[in-house]
Amino acid sequence: MTAVLTSSSPSGGVLAASWRRLRTDRVGMVSMVIVALFLVLVLLAATNLVASGWQKEVGVPNAPPTLLGPQPAEDTGVIATPKGPNVDLSDIDPLAPRYAEWAERAKQFKTEDIVKSETLPLGGDRLGRDVLAKVVKGAQVSIMVGLLGAVVATLIGTVLGALSGFFGGKVGDLLEWVYNVFTAIPYIVLLFSFAAVAQHMDLGGLDAAIGRSSRQVLMVALILALTGWTGIYRLIRAEFIKHRVREYVRSAEAIGASQWSRMFKHILPNVSHVALVQLSLHVVSFIKSEVILSYLGLGVGVDQVSWGTMLSEAQGELILGYWWQLAAVATFMAVFVTAFALFTDALRDALDPKLRGLE
């Protein structure tokens, strides 16, 4: 009699199991779809397929949203036009002989009358730019800063945390010191100091290489990453300290796995869920920080649009009764951030079922 060990359902890898758990989470799936839609929007905006003309003044200034209908025409009064033929000035007008010539020249050029629309889908700003296009372009900048910043912060935090947790000793002490220094300065002071330095930095070379606007996005993301990696470092370090003495790591050592291989091939995959959840938590907080930095004028430049710069414009517009830009930005941002936060919760539950139900 032979017992054959078969498993009725292939368990797949850790990721497959997490994916199965995630799929049963309805809230998580819905928020994932929303986040994915936003990311598609960001990609389309980044490749200029949508919202490339956000700077065009397509509507009348402060055009209301289409649902509200056009603004009532202002009562301008009527100026009576004088009757009778124009007075003939040609004998004393020094320019008179050349009028015919100029009229001829002017005919060579075509003038195009742009009809500025009275209403726009989500309204217009004070220059008549389309708020919908702006909010999409702003989403691109804000979300890209958030994603890029979070990826860099996670990289820094993970690598330093791994080194500190795995080696301990002198390396660990040194990195703990760096961590203490960074967390000793209140976050906002640290952020402002980095922003101040970045503002007065000479980056002409980088501007020439990747363009001014991408450089500004890159700088904001870097500022956020360099000031925001500490929390990730701490968690990853704790995980590495926990894992480095586990049996599977000792066995790997016994069969001759090198330190690097143990750190990044054996331990890292087992703690990657922590990094992944932190990554997505930081996207949310970095987007919020970017909005505030840009509002204060320390973020992306004036020739760009982000949710922060839009909010700073919206503040003045609101007093005049033009609320649509504020409403559009607040709605877009709240939907994205809520969806991302709920998705993060679902992701955490799926990756680490032990945590399910805990806040």
Partner: protein, 312 residues
């Protein structure tokens, strides 16, 4: 206790030294030339050179670092480049305004969050609970900016309940007239995450055996929650409050900027925009030192509140 205190103070020295080094090298190597900033747009090369001479920027780096450390230890930061106000004076005059806003915020948010969280935890799993959770999730997703803009518009501009912004030299007028709106906004914003957190503390306690025992011996739900659960949940809540306490120094930076309150936060932003390095450096270093001190005091107080805490 004394040994603990000495050790903690001793541990602060390398960290503070690190902060000094970080700030020094950050501004030295990545910031632009102070002489160029100070000289302004129309400065000639000679003028810039003479400013450089005055500031000691021609000296070797180590000598500059030594001057920098001497400045810190003797509390002599000289004057702000932009306003010629001495940095020490800047600190002394701006801190009261900051505290006028931050202390009420801290007290109110904790005092309000505890009963709200307890009420939500009491009806856990119900529709109310879930509705509150959804509301708090959405509430934390909205930018602080939106709250500030809307509150200024509705409460101050439309309804006229508060002045939109302003500040006077009189502490009492500030506290009763100008501080309420910023405090209200800040408390409303921080209430949502606090309620979520405290609710989880309460739920954690409700799951314990002693709660079941208390119910089994016939205590009313009210007594169980108020007498047993509340007291035990106060421990994590106090831990959380102790994390918030250093925030009275810096926590309302953004609120100050939005409401033009002449506190430390607004001064910091002005310094950033003007490239006023002495002010920025002094802020970073002294706020770090102050925060560490506040943390230490909080840890000591914590021991007084909960005797089980062992200071290591």
């Amino acid at each position: 206790m004394a040994a603990y205190l000495v050790r903690r103070l001793w541990q602060m020295i390398p960290t503070l030294l690190g902060v000094v080094l970080l700030v020094f090298f950050l501004f030295k190597y990545f910031g632009s030339d102070p002489a160029v900033i100070l000289g302004g747009l129309n400065a000639s090369q000679e003028q810039i050179d003479s400013i450089r001479e005055q500031l000691g920027l021609n000296k070797p780096v180590w000598e500059q670092l030594w001057i920098f450390i001497k400045q810190i230890v003797t509390f002599d930061w000289g004057k702000s480049w932009a306003t010629n106000e001495s940095v020490a004076n800047l600190f002394a005059t701006r801190l009261p305004a900051t505290l006028t806003v931050t202390v009420p915020i801290l007290v109110l948010e904790v005092l309000l969050a505890i009963p709200f969280a307890m009420a939500v935890a009491a009806v856990r799993g119900s529709l109310t609970d879930r509705a509150v959770m959804v509301c708090t999730t959405v509430a934390v997703s909205i930018s602080l900016l939106v709250y500030v803009i809307l509150a200024q518009y509705f409460f101050a501009f439309r309804l006229g309940w508060f002045p939109v912004q302003g500040w006077t030299g009189n502490h009492w007028t500030n506290l009763t007239t100008y501080a309420p709106l910023p405090v209200l906004v800040a408390v409303l914003v921080s209430l949502a995450p606090q309620i979520r957190l405290y609710r989880s503390f309460f739920l954690d306690e409700i799951g314990h055996d002693y709660v079941r025992t208390a119910r089994a011996k016939g205590l009313t739900e009210r007594t169980v929650l108020l007498k047993h659960v509340l007291r035990n949940a106060m421990i994590p809540i106090l831990t959380n409050v102790s994390v918030l306490v250093p925030g009275v120094l810096v926590g309302s930076f953004l609120i100050e900027v939005f409401f033009s309150i002449p506190g430390l936060g607004r001064e910091l932003l002005l310094a950033v925009n003007r490239g006023d390095y002495p002010v920025l450096q002094a802020f970073a270093i002294y706020l770090a030192a102050l925060t560490m001190t506040v943390n230490l005091v909080v840890d000591l107080l914590y021991k007084l509140v909960d005797p089980r805490v062992v200071l290591k």
